[in-house]
Amino acid sequence: MSFLNIFKRKDSKASSGRQNSDRGILVFENTSEVIRAESVLDEEGWKIRVMGPPPEIRSGCDLVIEIPLIEELNILRTLEKAGVQPLEMVPVSSPLLQPVNIFQNKDFGKYLMIRAANMKLTIDKETMKIVNVSGGGCPDVPYLAQEMVGKTIAEAPSPREIGHTLCGYALQLAYKEMMRRCSQ
């Protein structure tokens, strides 16, 4: 099958440099929260900077904090513990992008698999045990699988508690959707 009739290759803005493509922005209600969050993240050793918001951001105050996007889950947990939570988190390169909100599920009879973005969580419907975690590419995925597989969905730690990255966050969404389905 030839692609020539589907698309012609063209220059993409995404392919020309892609500055800051692995950075994210935390948006806060007011500047005192920004200052507190900056202090907390600085103390924890994160590579961050305070800056003005991009024009696409229509909520929050006049300052935002730029963070390593991939480590969003770990950073949000750190801020939550400190009692300061952002209004939202967006990628620097495309501030209007939203986290994935589409779930796919596959029923294998005895087993149910739920996918969120690149992450898949599978349970045994009879025992409610997590039998597999697959997909993803960040290093917390093998760790999350190690900690979750073999435990029931109720016993297992949630990815939000022990994950660190956006892959962990995606698994958290699959986990939440699985919990929702199991409680129905």
Partner: protein, 291 residues
């Protein structure tokens, strides 16, 4: 010789390098033993089995512990940036690397670019294969076209196809995968220069493609359960990397690997609860059938 770069889920493991062996379901590298479950150890195990079958030198591993905090990955990135190209990274047997597979590393564009610069300084440019986090970093950096092979699943293909998304977590809904749209997503990934020389897309049907067209599809045997299993994509990447290092051309290696991984899965009679070592054990039998 094949080099494999990745992480293991052990916060305390320092950087370890060396030729890899597989004993009692554990990857052995120097004095370190790592249980094969999924991720880079699964890739290493599959590559080891393939090299052993082909009577080739075992893969050379570069491993570090990282549970997602990124600290281990960054130490390994730094190590690679300092060593690749400078001393031409040779194994104890003196064989230069002709293929490098980059795998589970915390995506970091700056460090990715430094490692790629170091690769450029190598005396002979190896075939470059990327999967998992390193593939994400390659796409984020806009340098996918410098690679010879990516091995995404269909969810990751949607990420490659979405020129805006910095991570699969932000793939836009209208692009997010529908498996019957795979050829369209492949074309879109190439359209925006977010794909390497070849793509091997893992799914219900596997696709081997370049920028011009779908070169091959592999769809049998079908084992639905493999989609739920962690590590089945890693074994595919391990097999294809070992075949390429053995001198087989990338496109042909991708087709053979896709068939072998499916066959190995089939022989393991998998359920969604099957673990990946059950597949690894059947790789030699699968390769025997195909080659």
């Amino acid at each position: 010789m094949l080099a494999i770069v990745g992480t293991v889920p052990d916060q305390d493991l320092p950087i370890v390098t060396g030729e890899v062996s597989l004993e009692d379901n554990e990857i052995c590298i120097q004095d370190t033993r790592v249980f094969v479950n999924r991720g880079t150890p699964a890739l290493l195990a599959a590559a080891f089995k393939t090299c052993e079958f082909l009577d080739k030198t075992s893969p050379f591993g570069y491993l570090v512990g990282d549970i997602g905090k990124g600290d281990g990955s960054r130490r390994l990135y730094e190590y690679l940036a300092l060593h690749f190209g400078k001393d031409d990274l040779r194994s104890e047997t003196g064989t230069a690397f002709n293929a490098i597979a980059f795998h589970y590393l915390q995506p970091d564009v700056d460090w990715h670019n430094r490692v790629l610069l170091a690769v450029d300084e190598m005396a002979q440019r190896p075939v470059l294969i990327a999967d998992a986090g390193f593939m994400y970093a390659a796409k984020m950096s806009g340098q996918s076209s410098k690679y010879d092979l990516f091995t995404p699943d269909v969810g990751e293909l949607a990420f490659l196809a979405d020129e805006e998304a910095p991570h699969p977590f932000y793939t836009r809904g209208f692009i997010l995968h529908e498996e019957n749209r795979t050829p369209e997503l492949i074309a879109r990934a190439y359209e925006h220069n977010n794909a390497p020389r070849y793509l091997l897309v893992k799914g219900r049907q596997d696709y081997v493609a370049d920028s011009q067209e779908i070169q091959a599809t592999i769809d049998s045997p079908v084992e639905e359960a493999m989609e739920a299993m962690g590590g089945t994509g890693d074994t595919l990447t391990g097999i294809v990397a070992a075949l390429i290092a053995a001198g087989i051309e990338v496109k042909e290696a991708a087709v053979i690997a896709a068939r072998a991984n499916r066959l190995a899965g089939h022989y393991s009679k998998p359920t969604p609860a099957t673990q990946v070592m059950d597949i690894v054990e059947h790789i030699p039998r699968a390769l025997e059938d195909i080659l």
